[in-house]
Symmetry: C2
Subunit: 257 residues, 2 copies
Amino acid sequence: MSSAAERFERIHAPPAYQLVAEAIEKQIVSGRLRAGDALGTEAELVKQFGVNRSTVREGIRLLEQAGLVHRDTSRRLTVSIPHYDRLAPRMTRALVLHQVTFRELWEASMVLEIAAVEFAVEHATPGVIRELEDNLAKTEAARGAAAIVALDSEWHGLLFKAAGNRVLQLAREPAALLNLPATELILAMVDPAVSRLIEAHRIITDAVRRHDPEAARLWMRRHLNDWRRGFEYLGKDLDQPIDQVYIESIGSARQRE
Amino acid sequence: MSSAAERFERIHAPPAYQLVAEAIEKQIVSGRLRAGDALGTEAELVKQFGVNRSTVREGIRLLEQAGLVHRDTSRRLTVSIPHYDRLAPRMTRALVLHQVTFRELWEASMVLEIAAVEFAVEHATPGVIRELEDNLAKTEAARGAAAIVALDSEWHGLLFKAAGNRVLQLAREPAALLNLPATELILAMVDPAVSRLIEAHRIITDAVRRHDPEAARLWMRRHLNDWRRGFEYLGKDLDQPIDQVYIESIGSARQRE
DNA sequence: ACCAATTTGTCCGTATGTATG
DNA sequence: TCATACATACGGACAAATTGG
């Protein structure tokens, strides 16, 4: 075996279904196929690629899962570009499986949310400020932990939208999903949590409108420290990996896709 | 049609291949199937689920693509938990397709890298500091932009490892991939770039070892500003969406999977 | 509202190459 | 070395849903 040294690398032919997926992917990424374009029927793809329909279908599944292709109501194949919140469940699942702790989540949220609020103070458009204020009004009127959690999540999402940085927006997604259940528990169980949340949202929203980075930073820090204290108040351990309770809530979130 | 109001939601039966994928996914996420466990042959799954082999295969493709299952050398199905760098290409592709600008990337890098270096100063273990120093030595010895870029990327990866926060680590992945080609260009074209990079890496590595947050922050900021200046020196526009050049480099990165 | 053509989801049988013992 | 097991891929088929008259 060693007589001819190692002249050549081992050949490993990629399976046909992968080649199908990659061929289509290339067209999408390169822009020759754009979001909304029809991909044609399976029979057409069979003809073009010269492979069996089962093979085409396996390839399609890959793209479907990657979010590059989806089937509209009529089940026709349509090109689409993956939105952040499509990736979020997978990122979240990876973090859960790697047993990320609540401390890591909280630390990361601290970093990301403070950065977001700083950018928001700088870049926020009147439109998004309006959205933040609308959300605030709804939050003040809302009753029940579940409703408030949804609005809280939306408010933070709007803040990242106001920040105008989509890399940070993507980075935030998994933390947002994972904090949801804990936040609901906190709002339901810890008495002053709701009023403190509303106070923080209002002051930060005002700070964004007035372009006041100091106040924004300060109150975001307080807001997140409140979350952490609420979490500890419930008797939970920050250094504990994210557990079963959360997995279920991810599952239900994924069903909305 | 409106005679009976809208009492029921539209029924949409999930296709069998999705049910197969979800059934297996549940076992993995719930912990009943752990990384490394064998999933059994396709024939066995056919029997258990009572569906056709083609259907099983389509379901498997979904899990394979999600990184929850892979085939080892013998092509046997094995459970695995998705690693961050498996998600990175997808995140990166999403960002590219959404026409994220270099400015967003740079801003986000600034936020993430500075946070990372702060955490690293606090949490770095002797082992990881050793790795940073080894990398530094190799970088000083290296010749050629390509080699140095690889080591630079590794160094930043080690820094996030030292920071001990996997949420930030995941958040960094797409930025790391997207900065690669630009960094290579800069190192190849801008004369003092290499020595400045090495200087920054050395000082930051030292600061991490000495637990000196001030120096670490300061030099990380300088390091990233250097990157930005190098980018602008090349005549590129920070507010330009990431373009074709980058897509190719992502493609080649994905082939290593 | 009905009908014919298309298309998808699923299934069966089979051939071929490769890995394992 | 040989036999067995298995993954990949193919051709063909049919029912249910969708489309377009």
